[in-house]
Symmetry: C2
Subunit: 96 residues, 2 copies
């Protein structure tokens, strides 16, 4: 692609760097939630915690506002990630 | 919540830190895509670029694999973010 304007190329390089950071942080986040799942199973705690989730949503909406990110998007993003966490937990519990 | 086990509290603190990082990186990513949208409008470039998107997917899947993150999740995540970028671009173009 020799016809990509230099400014577009620069912005795309930044987007690629930020995406790499996002992927690595998400990988780390799933390590934590996997350990949470194991801990909850061991302690026989309920897998979902609506009170904790409510606090997470409020906190992320406030952080998003401070960072000039749409708070609704931050909430949708958290829901998207939590959905995947639940899917992982269910796969872990499924009989092999 | 005084009955949260210490180990669960520690893991949740890490998840909260990682979520704050994700939100701030996403905010920065949307700043970049907003500038891409403005640039493409100015240069009259097509708003979508399937070739670029294909390369992004391949790259993120490879990065995910290296970070022990499900590559399918990485691809779904990119689709989720791009969908929001398109929504932003459409809002920006909508008559006020």
């Amino acid at each position: 692609m020799t016809d990509t304007p230099a400014e577009l190329k620069t912005l795309r390089d930044s987007i690629d760097n930020l995406d790499a950071a996002l992927i690595h942080i998400l990988a780390e986040r799933f390590k934590c939630t996997q350990r949470v799942g194991e801990l909850k199973a061991r302690l026989q705690l309920p897998s979902s915690d609506p009170n904790r989730e409510k606090l997470q949503i409020e906190r992320l909406r406030a952080l998003a506002q401070g960072a000039h990110l749409d708070p609704d998007f931050a909430e949708k993003f958290l829901a998207f990630v939590i959905k995947e966490v639940i899917r992982h937990h269910e796969l872990a519990k499924a009989p092999s």
